[in-house]
Amino acid sequence: MWSLVAVELYKIFKRPRTYIAFGAIAALIVVIQLGLKIDGDAYAAFIMKDINDALSVDGKILNGYLICYILLQLLLVHVPLLVALIAADMLSGEANLGTLRLLYTTPYSRSQWVMAKFIAASIYTLLLLIWLAFLALFVSMWVFGTDDLFLMKSNYVVLIENQDILWRYVGAFVFASFSLLTVTSLGFLMSSLANNSIGPIVGTMSAIVFFTILSTLNIPLFNVIKPYLFTTHMNNWKEFFDLQVNANNEAIQGSILNIAKIKNSLFVLGLHIILFVTIAIQIMKRKDILS
């Protein structure tokens, strides 16, 4: 099986389109970092203007941790679209080329090939996320330095001490990997349904947009299905940055406010991954690859 995964990875990284996502992420992050490096003080003043009268904050607000948080907020919504470029092409691209027939004459079952392709697409997704983490977190820490993380939520502020932050990012990226793997598996499923790449790529993007809109709409009819939609859970990496408070309303460092919510989201996303991949395998087992 691993030799098949290696073969699939070899093919992925031999294609120029693979590097579009890496390039796009690097370009976006560098542009934002550059902007904040040049004009960061004005930006910090802007976000603090409403609360300057209520509290004063010592230290460097615009540090590497906050930059990373801003970048993740901006990018984790768009990275799925980049993931779809590869994941949604894994099966349909080969069906279009006709090379599935060549693969299926080797001493491996269809299920083994499809699984190897999914694992390879998942590795690509994880590499993309690692690339994102490297640029957004480590480069930001290097360029902007580190300090406590000061976050403004909708009706409260969160202050996380410097030494309590890094593990939260590890948790957030692990969570984000589940979100993106869900997108990968959705793209993969779409890919199993078509014989060209464009349809599944557009289909995956459309599905994400459609379900994201449903997840954010506050209409009672949709509230029933919201907990089951993967898009409802994809952004819950932010839960790693909400702290419990004690009786004096002071943040408890090292805590997470709603760990049950994170677990539930991981469960729902995990179920979606299994469901999408299982359906894709079943479709590919029956798919006519000879016409």
Partner: protein, 301 residues
């Protein structure tokens, strides 16, 4: 030893009978020619041999093992190309061979890759991306891929498609060399008898999913062994007479007429035998070659 043993396989797609109770055997080291017009069921049979589709009924054994039960073990020893050379346009010829050697878990040295590319005449284009290749070059690379893991059985579905005359001649040489020099068993399909007769030691003609005739190339193409169509007023009666006669082994095919493969010296005796048995022979038509016979049965449909 039979490398391929096909027993009464049929394949039905909806209400189309693609292959109908087909049986044949391919012996080790043999080049087996699989001949038939487009749509005759050749590719469907080859797809069944490669387990790309499953027979509706019947059994297939390769290397003495059931294809259904030991598919993966069997396919390790098989190399194949299926109709079109479908390849990755963004990979070079060398990368294709490296990729498929890896799929087969073969540690292949660059010398072996070069040898394989040399065999199919692509060594000078080893580094070029497939997107720059002509159809004929893709076809040759497809064959190189089929050979890269040194298989014992090679299945080539219409391997001369897209090749120029020189390429076709080279392909013939390659098929003969694979069999004679390397002892490989080759099953090669084509819709052209002229291609098959030059490489195959055994020929099977398939028409509308049914076996029309099978035999050694030498026997089938022997000019002394005429293929003769006896035209009678009552073919059913003639058939009955023939089956009970000393000439019963000459019968080739009866569905599209009474075709017999008969030494030319026996034709008068056979005619006399029919007349004595009360069969009214109204004509005897000699087919000059297997090609005539092939064209005759296929054009009758």
């Amino acid at each position: 030893m039979a490398i391929i043993k096909v027993d009464q396989i049929s394949k039905v797609f909806g209400n189309i009978q693609a292959v109908d109770k087909l049986s044949f055997e391919v012996q080790a080291g043999e080049v087996f020619g699989f001949l038939g017009q487009n749509g005759s069921g050749k590719s469907t049979t080859i797809r069944m041999l490669l387990s790309l589709i499953h027979p509706t009924s019947g059994t297939i054994e390769l290397f003495g093992k059931s294809l259904q039960k030991d598919r993966n073990q069997i396919l390790e020893k098989v190399g194949a190309i299926i109709e079109r050379p479908d390849l990755y346009p963004y990979l070079s010829a060398r990368e294709h061979l490296q990729l498929f050697a890896k799929v087969r878990k073969q540690k292949i040295h660059s010398k072996a890759i070069e040898d394989t590319l040399q065999k199919v005449g692509l060594l000078d284009r080893a580094q070029d991306k497939v997107q720059t290749f002509s159809l004929g070059m893709k076809q040759r690379l497809g064959i190189a891929i089929a050979l890269v893991h040194n298989p014992q059985l090679i299945i080539l579905d219409e391997p001369t498609n897209g090749l120029d005359p020189q390429g076709i001649a080279d392909m013939r040489k390659l098929i003969i060399a694979l069999s004679k020099e390397e002892g490989k068993t080759v099953l090669v399909s084509s819709h052209l008898l002229s291609e098959i007769e030059q490489v195959a030691s055994q020929i099977l003609i398939l028409h509308k999913g049914k076996k029309m005739v099978e035999g050694t190339t030498k026997t089938l193409l022997d000019p002394l062994n005429k293929i003769v169509q006896f035209k009678t007023l009552d073919d059913a009666r003639a058939l009955q007479v023939l089956q009970n006669s000393p000439f019963n082994t000459y019968l080739m095919e009866r569905k599209h007429g009474l075709f017999l493969k008969v030494p030319h010296t026996d034709i008068p005796q056979l005619n006399e035998y029919f007349i004595n048995a009360g069969v009214s022979v109204v004509g005897i038509e000699a087919k000059n070659s297997l090609e005539d016979y092939f064209l005759n049965i296929t054009s009758n449909q």
